[in-house]
C-alpha cells in the first residue's frame, strides 16, 4: 500500500516514516509537490511543534489539494498538530486557520496545578464505532506530548482525561486524526497505524 506523508518542515518525520515502512507501506514524502497529493492513495499529515507552522500548507497550495483529496474519499490521518489542523484553528496561533473540516477550535489546557505540556503514556476511552481504533482495548496506553487539544464532540473517536476530557482521536468517514503519537506508542500505536493502512472506503 502506498502512503503519501506531507512534510511542512515542522519537526522531524523520521519516526513516522520508519513506523509506516515497518508495517510494509510504500512511503513517499512531499513538501510541496501537489501532484503527489493529487495522486495519493492515503495521506498522513504528521506534525510536532507550533500550529503556526501549518501556514506552509496554505502557502504551497497543499491545503486545497488535501481538501480535494478528502472530497474524493482518500483516507487522511493527521497526527498531533496534524489532527489539530483538521479543526477551524488553534489558540496557539489565532490568525492561522486550520482546514475547518471540524468547526471547533483547539485550545490550551487550562492553568492549574498540573503540568502542561501533557507528556507521557495515557489511556483511551474508545468509542465502539471507531474503525481507526478497532481492537484497542481498555488498559492500552498511547504516548502524548502536547499543550493544546481538541474538544470532545460527536466525531470524537476516543477520549483521554488530563486536567479535563479531550479528544485523543477524531474520525468522520475517511478523515481521521490522533492527538497522540502512534509511531511512538509501541504495539498499540502500530495496531492503529495498521488499521489506517487497511482502511478501505465506506
Amino acid at each position: 500500500m502506498r502512503v503519501t506523508v506531507i512534510d511542512y518542515k515542522a519537526g522531524n518525520l523520521t519516526s513516522v516514516l520508519k513506523a509506516l515502512r515497518h508495517l510494509g507501506a510504500q512511503v513517499e514524502v512531499t513538501d510541496g509537490d501537489l501532484a503527489l497529493v493529487e495522486s495519493a492513495e492515503r495521506l498522513v499529515l504528521p506534525g510536532v511543534g507550533h500550529f503556526q507552522a501549518t501556514e506552509r500548507l496554505d502557502a504551497t497550495g497543499i491545503t486545497s489539494a488535501i481538501r480535494a483529496a478528502i472530497g474524493r474519499g482518500v483516507p487522511f490521518l493527521g497526527i498531533c498538530v496534524g489532527m489539530q489542523w483538521l479543526y477551524a484553528g488553534s489558540s496557539e496561533a489565532p490568525a492561522q486557520p486550520g482546514l475547518a473540516h471540524f468547526p471547533e477550535a483547539c485550545t490550551r489546557f487550562p492553568e492549574c496545578s498540573k503540568k502542561v505540556p501533557h507528556v507521557g503514556w495515557n489511556s483511551l476511552e474508545v468509542r465502539s464505532s471507531s474503525r481507526l481504533l478497532a481492537g484497542v482495548g481498555p488498559g492500552e496506553f498511547v504516548y502524548f506530548t502536547h499543550s493544546y487539544k481538541a474538544p470532545v464532540t460527536a466525531e470524537t473517536a476516543a477520549v483521554t482525561q488530563y486536567i479535563e476530557p479531550f479528544a485523543a482521536a477524531v474520525e468522520q468517514g475517511n478523515v481521521m486524526g490522533v492527538q497522540f503519537h502512534p509511531e511512538k506508542s509501541g504495539a498499540t500505536g502500530l495496531k492503529i497505524l495498521r488499521n489506517f493502512l487497511a482502511w478501505e472506503g465506506n
Binding site: G11, N12, T14, K18, G49, H118, V119, G120, N122, G186
Partner: protein, 259 residues
C-alpha cells in the same frame, strides 16, 4: 490516567552499553540496540541513550549506534552526549531520535535550548542537569549546585534557577541526576527532585540512585517526579521494567503495564 514513566537509560561508550559507579569503573553491559529493544519489550516507557564519553571523532559511531537502535524501536527515544549545536541535534534526529538531551553545551551556551526548540519543537529538548547538594549552604537542597564534566566540576549555577531558565528558554523536560546518589542504589534524592519539580511547569525525570521498587514509589510520591530513570537496576538481569511496574502498580502508582 496519565501514568508515571519508567525510563531505561543506556550509558554508551564507543558503541557499547557500560555501567559505572559515580561515572567511574565502567563495566560492559551489552549492545545498545539489543538492550533498547529488550527494555521496550519488557515495558520501559522510553529509552535514553547517553554517550558518556562523546568526542568529535566518535560522532559517526554515535550516529550509527542511534540509527541501529532506533530501527525497530517504537517508543520515545532520547539521545544525549556531545550535542553542541542545532546541527548536531538535527543529525541525531535524522538518525531516528525523538528527543535530544543537552547538558554542558547548554550551560556554555543557553541559547542552544532556544535554537533546538525553535527548529524541532520544545518536546524534542531535554535539559539534563547533574546536581549535587551544597553541604556548606544554609539550605543544601535549595542551593544545590550544577556540575559538569561527569560531576567533577561546579558550573557556578544553582540547580533550581537553571531548571527555571531552561524552561523559560523552551526546554520540554528536565532530566535531573543527583550526583550524590548516582550509582549508589541507595535511593533517589527525593528532596532535590521535589524542589525542582515544584519550581517548573514541565515534566521532571528523576535520575540517580535507583536500587529497589520502594525507591521509585518514593520519588513519584515525595519527589513529585513525572518519570524516573533506571539503569543499573535493569542490567545484569537484576530486574525488568515489567517486574518493576507490576510491583509499582500493586503499590498504587499509575503505570502502563506491557501488553
Amino acid at each position: 490516567m496519565l501514568t508515571k514513566r519508567i525510563i531505561a537509560c543506556l550509558d554508551v561508550h564507543a558503541g557499547r552499553v557500560v555501567k559505572g559507579v559515580q561515572f567511574v569503573d565502567l563495566v560492559d553491559a551489552g549492545d545498545p540496540a539489543t538492550q533498547a529493544a529488550r527494555h521496550a519489550r519488557e515495558g520501559a516507557d522510553e529509552i535514553v541513550l547517553l554517550d558518556i564519553t562523546a568526542t568529535h571523532e566518535r560522532r559517526q559511531t554515535l550516529l550509527e549506534t542511534v540509527r541501529r537502535t532506533a530501527r525497530e524501536l517504537f517508543v520515545p527515544f532520547c539521545v544525549g552526549g556531545g550535542i553542541r549545536s542545532a546541527q548536531d541535534a538535527g543529525q541525531v534526529f535524522d538518525a531516528g531520535a525523538d528527543k535530544v538531551s543537552i547538558n554542558s553545551a547548554a550551560l556554555a551556551d543557553p541559547g542552544l535550548i532556544d535554537a533546538i526548540g525553535r527548529s524541532f519543537g520544545a518536546q524534542a529538548v531535554v535539559v539534563a542537569i547533574d546536581a549535587r547538594r551544597d553541604p556548606h549552604a544554609a539550605d543544601p537542597v535549595r542551593d544545590a549546585q550544577v556540575f559538569v564534566q561527569g560531576g567533577r566540576k561546579p558550573a557556578g549555577r544553582r540547580v533550581v534557577e537553571w531548571a527555571r531558565e531552561a524552561e523559560a528558554r523552551g526546554a520540554g523536560e528536565i532530566l535531573l541526576t543527583s550526583m550524590d546518589s548516582d550509582g549508589t542504589r541507595a535511593g533517589f534524592d527525593c528532596q532535590l527532585t521535589a524542589a525542582v519539580s515544584e519550581a517548573v511547569g514541565i515534566p521532571v525525570i528523576a535520575s540517580g540512585g535507583a536500587g529497589t521498587v520502594a525507591h521509585f514509589t518514593d520519588v513519584f510520591a515525595r519527589g513529585k517526579a513525572d518519570a524516573a530513570l533506571a539503569a543499573s537496576i535493569f542490567h545484569f538481569g537484576v530486574s525488568s521494567a515489567r517486574a518493576l511496574k507490576e510491583e509499582l502498580a500493586q503499590a498504587g502508582v499509575p503505570v502502563r503495564l506491557p501488553c
